[in-house]
């Protein structure tokens, strides 16, 4: 008989399991975020909205996504593919995701590093919003910029004064990221 394993509480497998379980609350949190994102993805897949699309990045934890907005017709962005990045915090959907334009874009409410000024991504965020609604808001923002609080003052000015010149700026700045 082998009595050497007297101190069973510290024996390896159980200790391992215990340590795993101690982190369970944290894991649960991540799990609920993942679950929610999975559901959102499923919804996007089942009922795709025209002009918008989003998909998780290849890192596999679902917390960062890439989205694509096709420029709406009758806007200066018509036919352009605009890429965005979504970074979801662990507290999602109670705090908003960080959304950035990855494609260079000329827009009154977007600065040159892609940061977006949109109230629902800041203080007006609510848990009922989701990826789809954010993308739809951004899509409409392309057609109707909020010139009251511009990040790009020149663009805001041009939008109001010279639509032709604005479109020229948009096309000059745009670059398709897919071409690499």
């Amino acid at each position: 008989m082998d009595y050497t394993m007297e101190d069973t509480q510290n024996s390896a497998p159980e200790a391992l399991e215990a340590s795993k379980l101690n982190t369970s609350s944290q894991r649960n949190e991540t799990q609920s975020v993942t679950k929610r994102l999975q559901a959102e993805l499923m919804q996007l897949m089942i009922q795709p909205s025209p002009g918008i699309s989003a998909f998780p990045d290849a890192d596999g934890n679902l917390l960062s996504w890439t989205a694509t907005i096709t420029g709406p017709t009758e806007t200066p962005y018509e036919g352009l593919n605009l890429k965005l990045s979504f970074a979801f915090p662990n507290t999602y959907p109670y705090s908003p995701p960080t959304v950035l334009f990855k494609s260079p874009i000329y827009h009154p409410n977007v600065d040159f590093s892609g940061r977006i000024c949109l109230d629902i991504l800041k203080d007006k965020w609510s848990a009922v919003y989701n990826v789809q609604s954010v993308l739809l808001s951004l899509q409409s923002l392309l057609g109707e910029p909020n010139n009251a609080s511009p990040l790009n003052a020149q663009a805001a000015e041009l939008w109001d004064s010279d639509q032709e010149e604005f479109k020229r700026h948009v096309l000059a700045r745009h670059r398709d990221l897919d071409e690499d």
Binding site: D2, T8, Q9, G60, W65, T66, K83
Partner: protein, 925 residues
């Protein structure tokens, strides 16, 4: 040899009565002789017998030179006379060997050991002893020239010269049986030869106080020679064998072994009134008073004989100097083995409850085991070494208790090794678990039990060969057994972990659990074997039972008034929960992290069962109610709705049928149109949203039915506004009545089978139809049509004329015909059997077809995923697409790389994707 026993005993008794133990202890001269005689001592050990003799004789010569006090000449004369008288003749080993079986007196005479000394010699002896006495009293030390020390040397010389070789040779003989006894006999004879003249003629000359000292001295010398000149390793082996042989009989183990062998043969042949027995079985049957005497009284003859034989043998062993602590060590080793052997032979497979194995074992150890130990140790005691008082037993009660504990531990080890089988036999084997309880009292034992059990589990249960039902069944038994073993549930908690981990990996675990929960408890009673079949019927019984229990006592950790509260045991794991451990259902349900998997499976199974045509669904309702207690109402809402659908639709069905005049036509209508019966149509109305997806084959039902369906729908829609009925034609049962040329056929079949046979209906005899025609006519998948046709072939309604062409079998082949040709009969029955098998296979094929279609449907969803992936992440190779799909698709991606490649190839040909450089798939804009 038997005759020597009383002699020895008698001698010993005399010896003890004359000499107090204190005098025995005081024997410094011998020790000193040992010390200064180092050289010869080592030399005879290293096999230089002749040199020893030489040294010894030198000593005598030298010492005689140094003797100034006595009259030299007289002393020399006396010395030579005495030595001549005393010296042992060198006759070699052979005569001793031959005389070993006699009483020894002949040999003693032969060896001239009994004849009294002549007058001169007697005087010489007296003179020498007196001189030695004088020397001792005057100088206080023993003179070097001592007759007794000379005789000691003489014994040694003689033994080494004559006997050692012979004995060693004897030891080497291959015939080991009884060899040690022979040797002991020889040595005893030798001992007598050596000591006889001393005892008879020399000792009386000494003062009484001296006699004991001298005799011990000589004996010790003899023992030393014997024990050092014979190879102990071989002797200990022989001794162990002898001891084992005898103690097997004395401890009753041999009868146990015989019993277990002869158990199968005959029970009647055994003497019923045998009183003495160590058998656990027999002991258990006795009353309590009898039990106490069973192992102490009425010893069987062979046991008594064996015991006497062993004790006598050991006596001899002790006398010739082969006893002592070396023999004790051997004895201890043998007894150790015997203990294990006894536990194994007495208790293996004896798992009945109530158990008293531990008590029996304790009794056995006290009455039988300890008795033998006391008897044996009394004989092969170590030479008294100072602080031991003569009256005390060699075995104290503390020792016996310790042995009992060892015995219990052995029993525990046995039970632990049996534990798996014990649990397989549960609950018939609960006694074994009770035995184990006595063992698992300290943490080390508990750790031992869990560790070895987990090892066995991994070996015997948790492998692909065991079915999930078996594993779950055993898990339930384990839960129950360990609950008995350790009500706190700590051990179970440890054992359960690997099982639970393993079960989580099994795909069908949920399915088995759920179907077990929904199984009919009545059928469990009928079957009598709860584990038979592929369902765990036990679970449903357990569910009801556990609920009753939980109603009785819902004590929890938060019950502050619980005066019986105790903290968790020290060896509990940090996340161990007490209350949950004994609840089988809860243990199984909590296998899964989320309730969802469980609820989903429950829904699917419930769906299947609710669609069956049955009078009531009481079982399902009660199970659902019980599960609601555990899961909460909200989790099982869908199931609730499903049940409600069924009960509602019964009500709705009646009212719709009444409204639409679909209920049974009154009898007068029946008389009017006797030939055409309007079929009855009942419907179950399901709320699509709450039901699991049901795979369904679409086809056209016969017009009559379609008409009924239409009327039913109208009725329903008028009853429930804003609701619409979608008919699932593939689900349902039809009672068909077929009138054939020579017989009618009534059976309940599925809708599609009925539809197909309906298509054969005509007034023309010998209707023949092709599968393809039927398929287009009925809008049904050809595989399904074929399956239905084959079903009817198996019922001997249709016959397959040629491949895929079927004809109605209006008249069965004449009975006489088939009887004439007897070979035809089995042939026909195999035909039917074949057809049935074929029908089954075809049905399976049809089911697979629909499943494939469903899979394609799913593929569309995957296409959306791929689309999203390629849009946002850019072009990527197949490998990565598969990998991503595996991550993001809920429930996993069921297709292989090859299947996906094929699918993507299809998309490439449709122009939706293209293959860019490096095998990357890229969307075409």
């Amino acid at each position: 040899m038997l005759s020597t026993v009383p002699l020895n005993v008698g001698r010993k008794r005399v010896f003890h009565s004359v000499f107090s133990p204190a005098s025995l202890e005081a024997r410094p001269p011998f020790a000193s002789l040992f010390n200064h005689d180092q050289t010869p001592f080592t030399s005879f050990q290293s096999d230089g017998s002749s040199s020893t003799v030489k040294t010894a004789s030198q000593v005598t010569v030298l010492s005689s030179d140094k003797e100034p006090l006595v009259d030299r000449q007289a002393w020399d004369q006396a010395w030579s006379a005495a030595t001549v008288f005393l010296s042992v003749p060198d006759r070699g080993f052979a005569p001793i060997y031959e005389a070993r079986d006699t009483d020894g007196n002949e040999a003693l005479k032969d060896w001239n050991r009994l004849s009294p000394p002549s007058k001169e010699t007697g005087e010489a002896l007296t003179y020498l002893t007196a001189a030695a006495q004088n020397a001792r009293t005057t100088s206080g030390t023993t003179g070097p020239k001592d007759l007794f020390s000379w005789y000691g040397d003489e014994i040694r010389r003689h033994f080494l010269m004559n006997l050692r070789g012979g004995l060693c040779e004897l030891l080497r003989t291959p015939e080991k049986d009884g060899l040690l006894r022979t040797i002991v006999d020889c040595l005893q004879l030798v001992r007598r030869i050596y000591l006889a003249p001393i005892v008879h003629y020399l000792l009386p000359l000494l003062p009484t106080a001296e006699q004991g000292r001298v005799l011990t001295h000589l004996q010790r010398g003899f023992h030393t020679v014997v024990s050092y000149s014979l190879p102990w390793a071989e002797i200990s082996k022989l001794l162990a064998e002898d001891l084992a042989q005898e103690s097997l009989v004395i401890l009753g183990i041999d009868t146990l072994l015989e019993e277990s062998n002869s158990d199968e043969n005959s029970q009647d042949g055994m003497e019923v009134d045998r009183q003495y027995s160590v058998s656990y079985e027999e002991w258990k049957q006795e009353s309590t008073e009898n039990r106490a005497h069973m192992m102490t009284e009425g010893e069987q003859d062979n046991v008594t004989i064996a015991r006497d034989r062993l004790l006598a043998f050991l006596n001899g062993l002790q006398l010739v100097g082969l006893g002592g602590d070396k023999a004790q060590k051997v004895f201890a080793g043998v007894m150790n083995i015997m203990m294990t052997e006894f536990v194994r032979s007495a208790y293996t497979g004896k798992w009945e409850t109530p158990t008293s194995a531990t008590q029996h074992l304790r009794n056995w150890i006290e009455d039988v085991f300890a008795r033998l130990a006391v008897q044996v140790l009394a004989i092969i005691h170590t030479p008294p070494s100072g602080n031991q008082t003569s009256g005390s037993l060699d075995v104290s009660f503390g020792d016996v208790e310790k042995w009992q504990e060892i015995g219990i531990a052995r029993l525990g080890a046995l039970r632990t090794s049996e534990l798996f089988d014990v649990i397989v036999d549960w609950p018939a084997s609960s006694g074994a678990v009770e035995d184990l309880r006595h063992f698992t009292t300290h943490p080390a034992a508990r750790a031992y039990v869990t560790q070895s059990f987990i090892k066995i589990l991994n070996q015997r249960l948790l492998h692909p060969g065991a079915s999930t039902v078996e594993i779950l069944q055993l898990y339930i038994s384990i839960i129950r057994a360990f609950h008995l073993l350790d009500p706190k549930g700590v051990l179970l908690d440890r054992i359960a972990r690997p099982i639970r981990r393993y079960l989580r990996d099994r795909d069908d675990t949920v399915k088995v659990i759920v179907s077990g929960l929904l199984a009919e408890p009545q059928s469990a009673e009928k079957q009598a074997l709860p584990s038979s079949g592929d369902t765990l019927v036990e679970l449903s019984t357990e569910l009801a039972k556990a609920h009753q229990l939980s109603m009785q006592n819902n004590t929890s950790e938060l019950d502050w008034d619980d005066m019986n509260w105790v903290p968790d045991p020290v060896d509990a794991a940090p996340d161990y929960r007490k209350s949950k451990s004994s609840d089988v259902i809860d243990s199984l349900i909590s296998l899964f992290d989320s309730k969802e998997t469980f609820v989903k499976e429950l829904q699917a199974l419930l769906g299947d069962r609710l669609l069956q045509r049955r009078e009531d669904f009481d079982q399902e309702i009660s199970v659902l109610e019980l599960l609601k207690v555990r899961f909460g109402d909200s989790a099982l809402q869908a199931c609730e709705v499903m049940l409600k659908d069924i009960s509602d639709s019964r009500r709705v069905d009646t009212s719709v049928r009444k409204d639409q005049g679909l209920s049974k036509p009154p009898s007068r209508m029946h008389t009017k149109r006797p030939t055409v019966q309007i079929p009855e149509l009942h419907a179950k109305i399901l709320s699509r949203f709450f039901w699991p997806e049901i795979q369904d084959q679409e086809f056209k039902v016969p017009d009559e039915i379609a008409y009924l369906q239409h009327r039913y729908s109208t009725g329903f829609e008028s009853l429930k506004q804003s609701r619409k009925l979608t008919w699932r034609n593939g689900l349902g049962q039809v009672t068909v009545e077929l009138e054939l040329g020579d017989r009618t056929f009534v059976d309940e079949v599925s809708t599609w089978q009925a539809t197909v046979i309906y298509a054969f209906q005509s007034d023309v005899e010998e209707t023949t139809k092709m599968i393809t025609d039927l398929a287009s006519e009925l809008d049904m998948a050809p595989a399904l049509v074929r399956s239905a046709c084959l079903f009817w072939v198996s019922k001997r309604i249709l016959t397959e004329v040629s491949r895929d062409t079927f004809r109605v079998l209006e008249y069965l082949p004449a009975e006489a015909e088939s009887q004439e040709d007897s070979a035809d009969v089995p042939g026909q029955s195999t035909d039917t059997a074949n057809a049935a098998a074929a029908a089954e296979a075809a049905a399976a094929a049809a089911a697979k077809e629909t499943a494939d279609a469903a899979a394609m449907e799913k593929m569309n969803l995957y296409w959306q995923f791929i689309l999203g992936m390629l849009t946002n992440q850019g072009a990527m190779p197949l490998q990565r697409i598969v990998m991503m799909l595996k991550i993001v698709v809920p429930g996993g991606f069921p297709f292989s790389n090859e299947e996906l490649r094929e699918f993507l190839a299809g998309m490439v040909s449709k122009g939706k994707v293209e293959i860019a450089s490096g095998g990357n798939y890229k969307l075409v804009h």
